[in-house]
């Protein structure tokens, strides 16, 4: 889709109207999705949408608008923007939109396969999911295996950021996403498991691998019970480790949360806060990874940085606004929820560095403990207090050499304890889940609320 409003004209006309600085973000997305319902491919969608984000300041008065109506004229857009800015109170910390900051990083964010964005490709991939599941179901001896529900998404996104301080960057990104639930029936008993995948490449082989793995897990988690309440050693599979980091730890490294007094990491830069086995990077340069970018949403160049270095909190993630308040350079982590909204610090690709061992080794080492493969509710963990909790949908109880499937119980603890004194080991079996690259985690103890 071609942009209707001309960003240069917006900047020019905005300055003429008395706005002291402006920023224009143009996001154009073309997307095809194919859904799977009960092994059938339907429905299939195509959407094309361009949205403009206009932000401006007069002195320290700042406001923004998002325009998702392509019938909007330049005059209407600027009138709304000007009204919003003039009625907004001053932000005493406002330092302006960023100047041009190019760190020379050009990440691989687009796969040429997305040049031809056809619904047929999404249908073909959805069919691959269904066929792979059915075939694997036969191999594992299920009476019947089906993909109950799922979705394959292919999208290309163009982002352009222009401001009156010299920023003018564009980036083209491709997005491939897939998720679903498979169900196998064994002797009249159902067993289910979910799979998901996110990338900037069409990762067909990985998709098939995850579907096959999900079907295999339907055999492993047949006939679950609920464990007794108590305190257990805990092993988290890579994707659960990613979920825990997402909800309980990474929001706490946001410079905005630190500077505004809602992160337990305030005042802890340079201090050991986690076990020395924990090193976490924010890396936007991984080729064709889900969170890879060359520039953030305010046009600042990105780079790879270590956030926790052998347990020491090395740096918060910042956008330009927060970096000024912290008296540091922006880390290039300013991202938005809407084109017209202000940026807030957010990660690109989060990489938990490998240690040793892995899910299988940790499970073998357990005398009595819980291994967690899949959860619901981990996003409700509390990064302010560090409290982690989730409900297990697919887990294993290891007890004196016996291994049996378990579900429907709450696991709780504190992230700074789990990744601190209670951390036994970080695995070496890193797995990519959307923008997280995490191995398994072995934790000495966690509270379990079950039967």
């Amino acid at each position: 889709m071609e942009a209707r409003l001309d960003p240069e004209a917006i900047l020019r006309e905005g300055l003429r109207r008395g706005l002291s600085e402006l920023e224009v973000v143009v996001v154009s997305t073309e997307r095809v999705t194919a859904s799977i319902v009960s092994g059938e491919i339907k429905p299939v969608l195509f959407s094309a949408r361009t949205t403009y984000g206009l932000r401006a300041a007069i002195g320290r008065r700042v406001a923004g608008i998002s325009v998702g109506d392509l019938g909007t004229s330049l005059e209407e857009a600027l009138r709304d923007l000007e009204r919003a800015v003039r009625s907004s109170p001053e932000d005493p910390y406002w330092q302006g939109f960023p100047p041009k900051i190019d760190r020379g990083v050009r990440s691989e964010t687009y796969s040429k396969l997305f040049d031809y964005l056809e619904p047929e490709k999404a249908v073909e991939l959805a069919k691959l999911v269904v066929d792979s599941a059915v075939e694997r179901g036969r191999v594992v001896g299920a009476d019947r295996t089906t993909v109950m529900e799922g979705l394959v998404e292919l999208a290309r996104v163009n982002i352009r950021v222009v401001n009156t301080n010299g920023v003018d960057v564009s980036e083209r990104c491709s997005v491939f996403g897939a998720y679903g639930s498979v169900k196998s029936v064994f002797g009249g008993t159902d067993s289910t498991y979910d799979f998901s995948l996110g990338s900037r490449r069409v990762a067909e082989e990985e998709l098939v691998k995850r579907v096959v793995e999900a079907v295999d897990y339907t055999t492993l988690f047949r006939g679950p019970t609920t464990p007794e309440s108590g305190v257990y050693p805990l092993v988290l599979a890579p994707r659960v480790a990613a979920e825990v980091l997402t909800a309980a730890l990474i929001p706490a490294v946001s410079g905005l949360n630190i500077v505004e007094g809602r992160s337990p990491l305030k005042g802890k830069i340079g201090a050991p806060v986690l076990n020395e086995k924990v090193t976490i990077r924010d890396d936007p340069t991984l080729p064709l990874h889900y969170g890879s970018r060359s520039f953030d949403d305010e046009g600042v160049g990105v780079y790879s940085k270590t956030v926790f270095d052998r347990g020491v909190f090395a740096t918060p993630l910042t956008n330009y606004y927060v970096s000024k308040r912290l008296n540091m350079e922006s880390t290039g982590n300013g991202f938005r929820t809407l084109p017209g909204a202000s940026t807030a610090p957010a990660p690109t690709n989060v990489v938990l560095e490998n240690g040793s061992g892995g899910l299988e080794e940790f499970t073998r080492e357990l005398k009595r403990g819980i291994v967690v493969y899949s959860t619901i509710g981990s996003w409700m963990s509390n990064f302010v207090s560090g409290q982690v909790y989730f409900t297990v949908t697919h887990g294993l109880l290891v007890d004196g050499g016996r291994v049996r499937p378990v579900k429907s119980f709450v696991v709780a603890g504190n992230i700074y304890e789990w990744l601190g004194g209670k951390l036994v080991e970080v695995g070496s079996d890193a797995e990519v889940n959307a923008n997280y690259v995490t191995p398994s985690l072995y934790i000495a103890e966690a509270k379990v609320s079950g039967g």
């Binding site: 339907k42 700042v62 919003a84 907004s88 509710g377 909790y389 429907s408």
Partner: protein, 469 residues
């Protein structure tokens, strides 16, 4: 023609074009959406934005195969391209999918808007900012608060649905609300509480509400939670307040009763219609017009939303439907076909789900509980369910121990886990104090789509619930 003037295009003529191109059935979904958001972060306006969007989605049936396409460019070539794309997709699915059948129903033509007195669009931003600043000022004296984030939200959502059947429904809803996240800190311990109030209404709701009292109560709660104990893991008898009951039934029952999930084979409620799934004290309703909830007289297929009993006196009565699932199950559409935007496909979604009131005074439920936990919803984060395994979970805000029929010391928020086919069987007391709420700041997520919902109920006691935290 009047319709074309108001929308900038004529949906009916595009339906005819689709039919001329070979479609058996076309529906057009037009949406105009405005969202105003102001965020006051520790007294400073961090965000003041207005988002406006407009677009059109076409759904085309060709021999029962369905294609969707959408655009936010309402000029003729873009609309034509989207319509052709939808038809092309539908044709491409022939032989690669099973044809769908939509349920038959009458034709609906209506124009309706939710009630309001003062349109928030007409209220100056400065008045909204002043309101947030006044709340912030009242919280300054609470020194344990290390962060106060306050937010104002307003949404105007106009949807027009027209179809080959002859439907033409034009519906506008205004929602408004104020919320906040308070963080307290003392002696190396931190806690947060997120809470707000929203209504389907205009600025008059914001203007007349006692926000300062609400947020002072919230501040007391979060500061109290700093010193509160965590609950030892285990099973407890719990008394749930109105908000917690809403979360419980939305997660523990609502999702599993959505017919598209049942159709996919992903619900433990498959083949359970007519069976006992809850205590006989439990009746659960999905209703698009209940007071306090989100207002939905029609769904996104133009079907009127009807009040549906999912459970009546403990017996499961039936599923929530859109046109396609109603066709599949030979049932009547219930008006639960909803999409997040014009660009998304129609899923089966809850509207306002609530548990009907019983005859217990809420205080009597507490007095009748020898030992348990009084779970409070203020500050709860939400919930999630896996309808295929039957596992559900949700969190509470700061809550209280019950000892000897009295509310005792505070505990920090907990996580609740349960199983769809077990938990509601253990309800043994239902209060008479029905309350339903919605939110302009969030909603329910499914299939990547978030829609506004409401939920609630009276106070309820459930025996033997797993709690952790």
């Amino acid at each position: 023609m009047a319709e074309m003037v108001s929308l900038g295009f004529d949906p009916v003529s595009w339906i005819r074009k689709g039919e001329e191109m070979g479609a058996d059935y076309v529906d057009v979904r037009y949406q105009e959406h405005t969202y105003e958001f102001i965020l006051l972060d520790n007294g400073v306006v961090r965000e003041s934005t207005v988002s406006k969007s407009r677009g059109v989605g076409f759904r085309v049936f060709y021999k029962g195969f369905v294609g969707y396409a959408s655009t936010n460019d309402l000029n003729e070539p873009s609309l034509k391209n989207a319509l052709e794309q939808a038809l092309r997709i539908a044709r491409a699915l022939e032989g690669r999918s099973r044809p769908a059948r939509v349920a038959s129903r009458g034709v609906h033509r209506d124009r309706v808007a939710s009630d309001y007195s003062i349109d928030p669009v007409d209220v100056d931003v400065s008045e909204k900012v002043d309101l947030l600043k006044a709340i912030h000022a009242t919280l300054r004296e609470e020194r344990a608060l290390s962060s106060v984030v306050l937010r104002y939200g307003f949404e105007k959502d106009r949807r027009v649905i027209a179809s080959s059947r002859g439907d033409y429904v034009d519906f506008t809803r205004r929602m408004v609300g104020v919320g906040g996240v308070l963080v307290a800190q003392a002696e190396g311990s931190m806690e947060r509480l997120s809470h707000g109030e929203s209504r389907v209404a205009g600025w008059e709701f914001v203007k007349n509400f006692d926000w300062e009292r609400l947020f002072k109560e919230n501040a007391e709660l979060v500061v109290g939670a700093l010193k509160a104990k965590t609950l030892p893991p285990g099973k407890y008898d719990v008394v749930l307040d109105n908000e917690m009951v809403g979360l419980l039934i939305h997660e523990a029952f609502g999702h599993a009763s959505e017919a598209d999930i049942v159709m996919s084979g992903g619900s433990v409620l498959e083949n359970r219609v007519g069976s006992v799934v809850a205590s006989e004290l439990v009746s659960i309703v999905d209703d698009g017009k209940v007071s306090g909830g989100v207002y939905l007289p029609y769904d996104d297929e133009g079907s009127p939303k009807v009040k549906v009993y999912l459970i009546e006196k403990g017996v499961f009565r039936g599923y929530l439907h859109n046109l396609e699932t109603a066709g599949f199950f030979n049932a009547s559409p219930t008006g639960n076909g909803r999409s997040m935007t014009y660009a998304d496909n129609v899923l089966v979604r809850q509207t306002n789900i609530y548990l009907e009131p019983g005859d217990w005074d809420p205080y009597e439920i507490i007095q009748d509980t020898k030992r348990g936990v009084y779970l409070k919803g203020r500050g709860a984060s939400g919930g999630q369910v896996n309808p295929a395994t039957g596992s559900f979970t949700f969190t509470s805000g700061p809550s209280f121990i019950i000892e000897g029929g009295e509310v005792q010391g505070m505990i920090r928020g907990v996580m609740i886990a349960g199983n769809i086919l077990e938990t509601l069987l253990n309800v043994d007391a239902v209060g008479l104090d029905l309350e339903v709420k919605t939110s302009v700041f969030g909603g329910c997520g499914k299939g990547g789509q978030m829609v506004r919902v409401g939920d609630g109920g009276p106070h309820v006691r459930v025996r033997g619930v797993a709690l952790g935290g």
